[in-house]
């Protein structure tokens, strides 16, 4: 889930953000719908050079009873310490990691690699390679996605959250080619993100492209599909997801 100062938002291609509601009610709803984890990113923080919105994190953590990944504007060990203390289980970094790759190493040494998620926002250039973007997809960098993915694994990242910026919000399907390239280049888990539009997108990302996990937002905001239906679909393809078996 992404939010800006105006509330919970959803864009298309990291642009034309639409407000889709308030963040707290959404967190409460997802709690009851069997999502396995929540990833919440403040997309205005790095873009506007703001500090992470710790007040918002605190409110979200208050209502979130599954593992929570928090990102947006995190650029120091102090930010990470504070995020974890406020109830995040993992943090996501992109802009700060590209500007200062050592942050990944220091963070995984201090807090364990399991809590360091490196977020990669990818756009394909005319040369046919994918490049990393920072500041919510607004600024290109010279880093190629495959090289950076291998680099962050070496630096100590625990997971990669991989988003195709141009497909994000489109519901046209994940960029399976990008997912396949990155998943086969690294051995840490890759979370597919950006573009999921139907049930098959999820199973293909895992079975054919090698993603370890699948993320979605638009699909839940704008269609009737629920996390539980996706999990049932994955189960029908013999993909294990969390199973919460409580009577009644």
């Amino acid at each position: 889930m992404l939010w800006k100062n105006i509330g919970l938002v959803k864009g298309v291609g990291f642009n034309s953000w639409r407000r889709v509601g308030s963040i707290l009610p959404a967190v409460k709803v997802y709690n009851t719908r069997q999502v396995d984890e929540m990833i919440i990113v403040d997309i205005s923080a790095s873009r506007d050079n703001n500090q992470p919105d710790f007040e918002m994190l605190s409110e979200i953590a208050h209502e979130c009873f599954v593992p929570l990944t928090f990102g947006g504007g995190i650029n120091s060990l102090e930010h990470i310490t504070k995020s974890l203390r406020l109830g995040a289980d993992k943090i996501a970094v992109n802009t700060a990691a590209l500007a200062n790759p050592e942050l990944i190493t220091k963070a995984s040494e201090r807090f364990g690699s399991q809590c360091v998620v490196v977020s990669i926002d990818a756009i394909m250039h005319e040369d046919g390679d994918y490049y990393c973007y920072t500041h919510s997809g607004s600024q290109p960098t010279a880093y190629k996605v495959l090289e950076w993915a291998k680099e962050v694994e070496k630096l100590g990242a625990g997971e990669i959250l991989l988003t195709d910026v141009e497909l994000d919000g489109s519901m046209k399907g994940y960029n399976q080619d990008l997912i396949r390239q990155v998943s086969s280049a690294v051995s840490i888990p890759v979370i597919a993100s950006g573009g999921a539009g139907n049930l098959n997108d999820f199973s293909t990302a895992i079975l054919e492209s090698g993603a370890s996990a699948v993320a979605a937002a638009s699909l839940f905001h704008f269609t009737q599909l629920t996390p539980l239906e996706i999990k049932r679909h994955l189960a029908s393809k013999n993909i294990m997801t969390r199973n919460a078996l409580v009577n009644g």
């Binding site: 396995d36 009873f65 599954v66 364990g112 399991q114 078996l245 409580v246």
Partner: protein
């Protein structure tokens, strides 16, 4: 009902407090004070971090004796979560041999991953019950998934103290119980519906 969350400066007590409140308890206290130990009805020992640091902090602040009195003399239900479960052991082996709280006989050792497995063990994994009739497992179906983050595990001396196993790094003990003293290697406060049910079961003791 007054639920005490034992605060010794390690780990995110906030998530545990919120989950207990969500179970409908109004009186949840995060504290290390004597008087809170004396009049609580349930106590929770959370924890994230290293065993030696945690025991050193508990000893320095005089909390070790308070926990033992509460659990042994007063027979207050005590739930250790993650590192909190490991601290219930007789001995830890992280860094060097270290005395634990010695409330459930056993030692704590590093997980030994099989080929292809990673340490720390992070994520949702199955909890397989050995004793279905225990009240801690009421209304939770066998093999429910709970959320784990850990590199060490508790090896109880007595098999009758084992409530559940989890199939990872061979197979490790993910829940233990000895009378009023209970340990969970996973995080019920991050385990959604199954986690809430487990916490409710504990509060019903």
């Amino acid at each position: 009902m007054k639920v005490l969350i034992i605060d010794y400066g390690m780990g995110n007590v906030g998530s545990v407090k919120r989950a207990i409140e969500e179970c409908g308890v109004d009186n949840v206290i995060v504290s290390h004070h004597d008087y809170d130990f004396e009049d609580c009805t349930h106590a929770i020992l959370p924890g994230v971090g290293a065993f030696p640091d945690a025991m050193a902090t508990l000893n320095e602040r005089g909390i070790t004796d308070r926990i033992k009195k509460l659990a042994i003399d007063d027979k207050i239900p005590l739930l250790g979560i993650c590192l909190g479960m490991q601290l219930l052991a007789s001995k830890g082996t992280e860094v060097s041999f270290q005395d634990g709280l010695d409330l459930i006989p056993g030692i704590v050792q590093a997980l030994e991953p099989a080929i292809g497995e990673r340490i720390p063990h992070v994520g949702w994994n199955e909890v397989q019950f050995t004793n279905r009739s225990d009240e801690m497992l009421n209304e939770i179906r066998d093999q429910s998934d709970f959320y784990f983050v850990h590199s060490y595990h508790f090896i109880p001396k007595n098999e009758e103290n084992i409530l559940a196993y989890t199939p990872y790094a061979g197979k490790f003990v993910s829940m233990i119980r000895c009378g009023n003293i209970i340990g969970a290697q996973f995080h019920p406060e991050k385990s959604s519906t199954a986690g809430f049910q487990l916490l409710k079961n504990f509060l019903n003791i």
